[in-house]
Amino acid sequence: MAVLPKKNAMPVQDPQVRAHNFDEVALGYGREVAMAEAQRCLNCKNKPCVSGCPVNIAIPDFISKVKEGDFEGAYEIISRSSSLPAVCGRVCPQETQCEGKCTLGIKFEPVGIGRLERFVADYHNANFNGKANVPLSNGHRVVVIGSGPSGLTCAGDLAKKGYKVTIFEALHLAGGVLVYGIPEFRLPKNIVAKEIETLKSYGVDIQTNVVIGKTITVDELFAMGYEAVFVGSGAGLPRFMGIPGESLKGVYSANEFLTRSNLMKAYEGDSRTPIMHAKHVAVVGGGNVAMDAARTALRLGADSVSIVYRRSMEELPARKEEVEHAMEEGIKFELLRNPVEIIGYENPEDKRDPKNGFVTGLKVIRCELGEPDEKGRRRPVEIAGSEYVMDADCVIMAIGTSPNPLIKSTTDGLDVNKHGGIIVEESTGATSRAGVYAGGDAVTGAATVILAMGAGKTAAKAIDEYISSK
């Protein structure tokens, strides 16, 4: 049978419509389309897709189940490896992972693995009424710090092995970046809530409003009888560029802008959380967070939103689908431009003018690409004298984060690198302190959901071995 050269298309909301709402952009496969897409899998011998997945889901096996129409069977296979399939099916950068390795992808488009994963998870969440098999307790207690992707994965894996896991979350709601960072239109919050409920059904206890390092220290956790601690506290402090004008009114870190909109629900019209409804928004950066911020600003009613990135389209680190969606929605890409100053309003006649101190523009300088840097990405080189001012009444800095010092500064014997990231043994997640493991952005700095999940998984395995061997 001839293989369809292209993936079955993902139904999406019309770009003109979705640019004005916060409903999910991609609508998901139906069962017939999912089964047709599953037919495209060659079930090849090498299964390169599995090695491309940071949590090593048995991809061809679950796809075989989809082919047969056994969607619960497919879910069972995925959930052996992943605690958050409905999330990963939506936010993983599949093009550089499973789908990037797909054998079919050599000649044609790869199998839509992410779309199938999402379909299976959504099917399960909509149709499964049974009870989870609560594992028998092994009597050991473990703490997970942070309820983002790495923490949830680590907690899920340990709970399935019979550990009594307590997650401490600093914010009032569990989910970490899945609830404060990734917007509703890309990852609906009821899906995150559902995945968290599933974890709770395995016996995971989630305590919100507890800041480890402040409310309770890691030392106290051990004194309380917990045998191991996993630190998945996330990336932490937003970076700024250090250019003039970053304290003007209308300048946000992407973290703040997205947290106001997502976690604090400023995107809902009647919210009590203030957020700027700007006309011309400039988002500095080229990653997924920049895309999320730009598309959120557009949905909040901006007339124009621009991504300002110092390299070219080729080097843009965001997931391909997000860039495409952003372009379809009308986000402008001001590439090869680097901000040098944020300009603010100043009335020389009237010091009390309420407009004083608000952003009016972003001065940028044009760049060209030079020699590759140590990571192999071509370095942007500024073109002297090419500065100009873009109209902007809001500037959002989405240029990454540096690790949060809270846990390091209150935990003896926890080594960090020169950037402040916790140092771990890559194969286990073990830190310099016995019984303390770490993973996710707290170790790597800002990265992806699935890499954090992979790290949570690795650490769960190592924690199990550590406690078993004691």
Partner: protein, 279 residues
């Protein structure tokens, strides 16, 4: 959920509450703050800890009813609950090497200044306190300050109580009169702290100010609370809230604090109308 164990109105716009939060009560030190949400869809607001009772597991907060959220908080009765309460956040006030200190509090800032004054007193320091209010009706915590101060000066803007004038007047007199303070700690409105610093700087008396900017998470994640201190960007939630007053860019902080003034005004009006209807 966190229970309001005790509620007391200190003056027509300032309320005190003891909230049951044993983990926070166990750790909180003078100068640190908490973040609370009144109800499920409310905003997160930072409030500096005004004291705590480790035995009872309660944390004392004192707040001025200024916006929608504080109105909602103030509408809660003793025995009712608020949905979220997290802390202690920020660094405690540094007390090392101080033998003689002047605590300057302005308005509701006195609520935060009090535990700091108490802490220095417990450590055996000589404590002078200057507390200022707009008028007699707004004076709070006078007895409490008197109990932990070797010298207390109460100021009102209109002279309806204590001495007439601003807090910087007795501060300047004291310094000129030879009070060798090791440290001055100013807690109150930004404009007051700015003028305290302007008063102490010529004499080179080390001055610490407690900043209370716009904040969301309180753990360093959002960067909304950023300030310029000594030409560098600092986050009040993790680097502060106490900073070297000589180094803080107050004008910038005042500007940033007005970022949402339109929104706050609208929200305040909405809340007022809401409570009018309920009443």
């Amino acid at each position: 959920m966190y229970r309001i164990v005790n509620k007391k109105e200190l003056n027509p716009t300032v309320t005190m509450m003891d909230i049951y939060a044993p983990l926070v009560a166990d750790k909180a030190l003078a100068g640190q703050f908490i973040i609370l949400r009144v109800d499920g869809d409310g905003e997160r607001i930072p409030l500096t800890v005004a004291g705590c009772d480790k035995e009872a597991g309660t944390v004392k907060i004192i707040f001025q009813v200024v916006g929608g959220t504080t109105m909602r908080l103030n509408a809660k009765k003793q025995g009712e609950y608020i949905s979220d309460f997290v802390g202690p956040l920020g660094r405690p006030t540094e007390t090392d090497g101080v033998k003689k200190v002047c605590i300057v509090g302005g308005g509701v800032g006195c609520a935060i200044a009090l535990p700091v004054a108490k802490r220095f007193k417990e450590l055996g320091c000589e404590v002078h306190s200057i507390i200022g209010f707009r008028n007699k009706d707004l004076v709070i915590l006078e007895d409490e300050f008197a109990a932990c101060s070797d010298k207390l000066t109460v100021m009102t803007d209109d002279g309806s109580y204590g001495r007439q004038g601003v807090v910087t007047a007795p501060l300047k007199e004291g310094i000129e009169g030879g009070e060798n303070y090791d440290k001055v700690i100013a807690i109150g409105p930004l404009i007051m702290m700015k003028f305290v610093v302007a008063t102490t700087k010529p004499f080179g008396v080390p001055t610490v100010v407690s900043m209370n900017p716009i904040m969301i998470d309180g753990t360093g994640m959002c960067g909304g609370c950023r300030l310029t201190v000594g030409g560098k960007m600092k986050f009040a939630c993790v680097d502060g809230p106490d900073f070297d007053g000589f180094e803080v860019d107050f004008d910038e902080a005042m500007r940033r604090s007005s970022m949402y003034s339109d929104f706050e005004k609208r929200e305040r009006e909405l809340s007022c109308n809401l409570f009018k209807k309920e009443a």
